[in-house]
């Protein structure tokens, strides 16, 4: 079970990013838990300056803008 954290204050793009990660995990058949991190202090604690950010199992893999689906697949498979 992978823990995927979506960092962002809850803007439209953050929600879209969370949906994309879920869809990609479903497609690959990987079980994931998606958690939204909206607390600014926590976001800054990861060093992420531009949202949405993606953290997989404690590691930042993406910051700023919508990710590409094939990148999400790569991160999910690698981590």
């Amino acid at each position: 079970m992978k823990l995927v954290k979506i960092l962002g204050p809850g803007c439209k793009r953050c929600v879209a990013t969370a949906d994309m990660v879920q869809a990609e995990a479903n497609r690959l058949g990987l079980p994931v838990t998606i958690e939204k991190v909206t607390d600014y202090a926590a976001i800054a604690g990861y060093g992420v300056v531009s949202t949405p950010g993606i953290v997989i199992d404690g590691k930042v893999v993406h910051a700023g803008g919508l990710p590409k689906p094939e990148d999400i697949a790569k991160w999910l498979a690698a981590a």
Partner: protein, 353 residues
């Protein structure tokens, strides 16, 4: 085209990106040819309409028919170009560059990077906290935060399209000057204690994004993405704005406007700013109006001051920033930026008359 190269297997990536680059070059050539013939074509189109020559209606109609496609085309080009340029920058890299920079030069760098660093307003708070907690001085952070919304690529593209490159460059210089001066002033006041308590306590982490190298095709995609995003958001505003501009162009007498907004009244700059601060509009909506005002003899400094106060100081942004700044600090921020805009407005009126 887009979906092709996205789903292409890795072995086809090089030929796919070659195709994309080729298509981009063809599009650019078509763009220039169409742009070249736009004016004769629109004149011909207006001449076909059952409108009396030299009437107010003809003036307004030709402004609308010529300017709408012209503005849309130039906007597309500039937004695409900015999208490509911005793919070379990221807020994380900008922060790393600015951390530990001294004030003065740091303000200049921050204001310049504010123009090219991509950042959406919903990221304002993480960005602010991330900057301050990793050692970017407060005043330098403010220079970035002021320049970023104020000098925006849509505004720059539209001014370039409607008012010419001189006005566009003036706008750029105006915005940089305000961001540098206001940020530097806030830095001099040493207001770090006026940040919200939790912001001062955050210790920022850092991370390395794996191999952030982008290919030429990725950068072109970034440009196309920017174009789609901006057009989706602004086209309605733009057409309303051009219609308002067309009305001013055709019907409002020049003597009246230059009387009110001309350079010969000392109060016109502060008045324009005071009117502009509470208004919050999209840059795309306000610029066709701005250019029509300029065409009727309003002074450049006054008009730019009005525009800057509309785009730089907005209630939604203040509400977002309230999470990190105390009310006192927000008041200082608004006050310093307002004064900066007024000062630069006077300066430009003096320089360009």
């Amino acid at each position: 085209m887009t979906t092709d190269s996205l789903t292409a297997p890795p072995s086809n990536e090089t030929s796919g990106s070659g195709k994309l680059i080729g298509a981009t070059i063809v599009c650019l050539i078509v763009w220039f040819v169409v742009y070249w013939y736009l004016e004769p074509f629109s004149k011909w189109a207006v001449s076909l309409m059952p409108i009396a020559r030299g009437s107010h209606l003809e003036e307004a109609a030709s402004f609308f028919i010529y300017d709408t496609p012209k503005v849309l085309m130039l906007l597309a080009l500039v937004v695409f170009g900015m999208g490509v340029v911005r793919s070379f920058f990221s807020p994380e890299r900008t922060r790393a560059f600015l951390a530990g920079k001294r004030e003065g030069l740091g303000n200049v760098a921050a204001a310049s990077l504010g123009i090219v660093t991509p950042f959406c307003s919903c990221s304002a708070v993480p960005l602010f906290v991330g900057f301050v907690s990793s050692g970017v001085p407060l005043g330098v952070t403010f220079s970035f935060l002021i320049a970023s919304p104020m000098i925006n690529e849509v505004a720059l593209g539209l001014l370039f399209a409607l008012a010419g490159w001189k006005v566009a460059l003036t706008y750029l210089a105006f915005g940089l000057a305000v961001a540098i001066i206001a940020g530097w002033t806030i830095g001099r006041l040493h207001l770090e204690g006026w940040l919200e308590q939790w912001v001062r306590e955050v210790r920022s982490g850092s991370f390395d994004l794996p191999a952030g190298h982008l290919s030429a095709a990725d950068r072109i995609h970034a440009g196309i993405e920017a174009m789609r995003d901006i057009f989706g958001r602004v086209w309605v505003w733009l057409i309303i704005g051009i219609a308002a501009g067309a009305f001013i162009h055709g019907y409002v007498p020049a003597e009246m406007l230059s009387g009110i907004m001309g350079a010969n009244h000392w109060w016109s700059v502060p008045a324009a700013v005071l009117v502009g601060v509470p208004i919050y509009s999209n840059a795309a909506g306000i610029i066709p109006v701005v250019t029509a005002l300029l065409g009727k003899g309003a002074a450049l400094g006054t008009v730019l001051a009005f525009m800057m106060s509309v785009t730089a100081l907005s209630a939604p942004e203040m509400i977002i920033l309230r999470k990190v700044l105390t009310l006192r600090l927000i008041a200082v921020f608004v006050g310093v930026v307002t004064l900066g805009i007024i000062a630069v407005g006077y300066l430009f009126n003096a320089l360009f008359t």
